[in-house]
Symmetry: C2
Subunit: 460 residues, 2 copies
């Protein structure tokens, strides 16, 4: 039934995912007579680089995650549908999505798969409950509840004369840009924003510990910028533990094992996981049907034009792909620009084919606009190819790029002003409000564990 | 143990609740040598009058609910503790609070009970699951997920050719200020904000139905303003059903019974309860121990100085009290000003006693600053005693009062600018973002019910 395409029907492009890849592919096809359907499992487009600011109460969720249909509301040839894609049938050319048992089969002529990557716990999925990742708005709000909840409970326990060391210890696993920014921001919360809010605890005595298995922070930025970031973080009050793997993690804390065999246990109520990524499960089904290989992180090998072998009608873009960059022999990194440029390339290829050509003349070429990470207010590191920079100017660059985003999709003047006063100037941190449901739900869990431990130690 | 007050110990004031009554009592005692402990079950102070704007995506939760300890961070004699007060022991002069099994007993010399009121379903507590109230940030975000989720699911179901009438029908129960503002705002969402966001549904065809048991909308505002509000709401696209009681309510819809005996069933996926209030359960324990009477809504009868009979050390203020206003013979209404003025009165009485007096010279006297409700953008109703007003000027008054709040606690310039552009000018409605967890959790429930019904109707 889905195969019977009516004569003169518009060419149907189905795009899976509302992240950078899916969104920029869709926008590139604006004003054409293509019939575009975007299927995504959340109703918003998320600007992940600022997610840590939602978790730490600087920005509200709406400021970094506009609804996708709002961004595309003027693009009449694009339909946005909520759904988690559960299977792709390459022979039948259909995508099946499901949300709460509402199953929808959507036929396509061309498919762009841009489903991104999720958090990876390297096979220890039971860590997730105790150390949420940093991949979605739900994650960020969950973490906001945990972080501010920890201070609330510490104040209460301290008022009762109890030990609050574990409640005031925050462990961030993973010293990539997200982990570094998260750890720095929690330290700043404790030392400035919350400094005078409590009577029984000294918020500024909270410990923030950043852990990584690599021998430096920000590994992709190289040793020199890594050292600068390391110093800046320590100055902010972050303790850094390197060359250490997390061997266990539960409600009470974290177990570490160093490369030299030593082990260490850290008591900590609040753990944050910013360590690894795993490509969307859809790469597996694509691999099974096309023979394209998967790497360890579940990324699928694509041809130089981002299609799958034997299936020029299927593009894969963004965090899901494994493609060697001919310029440096390394695989393309999982960053926004790879997704954006890939989405645009796929869209332009589709348009070229509409004009009767086989595709674009050149294979996909990633233009490295550089990567950056803030390491404290007014201080960032920046790397473009072999060029490295750190300090205030790098931070201004970081700010400019992120400001451009915040104002980008629409005229969001007030959101930008809010961000400038709250983040840049450090005033008016309005978004600390947590839903009590979130605070209580997770802490109930933790409490249970702590009580069972207390009983154990009384018994022994 | 708690009775043994050390000599020269500071006088301990315990305040239950972080609403208007508790907060203004606390602030009134700033700079004194009293030792104040505020115990509240949420970590923020909530400006309830704008809660409906959080539910409809105009404001973020942080903009109307700053954390209580942030508001009080400079007031060194005030400690804020998270906890749900479970009992008050008047003989022992202690308050017991609990949060997640952390039980704390706090002794007091003077107690101010300002625990407010919750939603009342008039004995039908099972309605709550299907029709959340409008009393907390959790409620508002839950409703935001339901409202925007309904449109998302309607688009998806319509794309599959299904009937979406129920998904696009919103029923608001209760035509007081909250219900009126909520219904009007949903209608505006559908007709303007979301009008061009969908491809398979016409958002502007959504039905918004406002139901009340009274024969007019906004009963406390009298028939004249009620008629004006009625007309303005109908112009905005709200259907109004009066003199009708809700006899049943489930995931599928609402059953109504009119005063003349007629009945009506409305199929509706999204129901909002803004109908009744019930004083905090603490009024019961106070009544049992002092003999003070409770009225039907659980409000406790207080003496003219807001204390309980025989217990000058216990004040009750705000929504929990039943006290006749000698000016008009009516009980004091459950509005912010009664709580604010009551909290201040209690605090001043405590200070007078510290100076060796018995209390203030005069009983508590409520000064009616008036009540107002917006009925559409640029149009409000306003009533101060017998003086009535409606239209643009009344709206300017409404705006001024609410602006004063938003900027009140701290210098929240950007939050105010955001509110002006989003609400007043109708631009930049950034806060539509919902957590997918909330959207999916509740719709799963609804879906289940609908499926079981579908099976029923297939069988029959």
């Amino acid at each position: 039934m889905t195969e019977s395409v009516a004569t003169n029907a518009r060419h149907r492009v189905v795009i899976i995912g509302s992240g950078f890849g899916g969104l920029f592919a869709t926008k590139q096809l604006k004003g054409t007579d293509l019939d575009i359907t975007m299927i995504a499992k959340s109703s918003h487009h998320l600007f992940q680089p600022l997610l840590y600011q939602v978790a730490t109460g600087i920005l509200s969720q709406g400021e970094i995650a506009p609804t996708t249909r709002e961004i595309l509301h003027r693009q009449k040839n694009a339909t946005v549908l909520l759904g988690h894609v559960t299977s792709i049938d390459i022979a039948a050319k259909t995508v099946t999505s499901d949300v709460l048992g509402i199953e929808k089969v959507t036929p396509y002529d061309t498919l762009i798969v841009a489903a991104g990557a999720g958090q990876s716990y390297f096979g220890n999925d039971h860590f997730a409950e105790h150390a949420p990742g940093m991949k979605s708005i739900d994650d960020a709000l969950e973490l906001r509840g945990r972080i501010f909840g920890a201070f609330e409970f510490a104040e209460l326990e301290a008022a009762m004369g109890h030990n609050v060391e574990s409640l005031l210890t925050f462990v961030v696993v993973g010293a990539g840009p997200t982990g570094v920014e998260m750890a720095g921001q929690i330290a700043e919360l404790a030392r400035t924003t919350l400094a005078s809010d409590f009577r029984h605890i000294q918020a500024k005595k909270a410990r923030v510990i950043l852990v990584d298995g690599a021998p430096q922070v920000l590994p992709p930025f190289g040793p020199k910028l890594g050292r600068k970031a390391h110093k800046a973080l320590e100055k902010r009050g972050v303790e850094i533990i390197l060359s250490a793997m997390v061997t266990d993690l539960d409600s009470g804390g974290v177990d570490l094992k160093f490369q030299d065999g030593r082990t260490q246990h850290i008591e900590s109520a609040t753990k944050i996981w910013a360590a690894g990524v795993q490509a969307s499960e859809l790469s597996r089904t694509l691999s099974e049907q096309t023979g394209a290989e998967l790497d360890r992180a579940g990324r699928i090998a694509v041809l130089p034009d981002l299609t799958l072998p034997g299936h020029p009608e299927i593009f894969v873009v963004g965090d899901m792909i494994n493609l060697i960059d001919p310029h440096n022999g390394h695989p393309l990194p999982g960053v926004a620009q790879v997704a954006i440029q890939g989405g645009k390339y796929a869209a332009k290829t589709i348009l070229a084919r509409q004009q009767g050509r086989d595709g674009l003349d050149k294979p996909f070429k990633y233009f490295d606009k550089g990567s950056m990470a803030t390491i404290s207010r007014f201080n960032a590191v920046l790397k473009v190819g072999k060029f490295e920079m750190s300090g205030f100017l790098a931070w201004v660059g970081w700010l400019a790029v992120h400001l451009a985003y915040l104002t980008g999709f629409r005229n969001r003047v007030t959101a930008t002003l809010h961000w400038i006063t709250s983040f840049v100037l450090g005033h008016d941190r309005a978004e600390r409000t947590v839903t009590m449901q979130q605070v209580l739900a997770r802490n109930a869990l933790q409490r249970e564990r702590e009580e069972s431990r207390a009983v154990d130690s009384e018994v022994s």
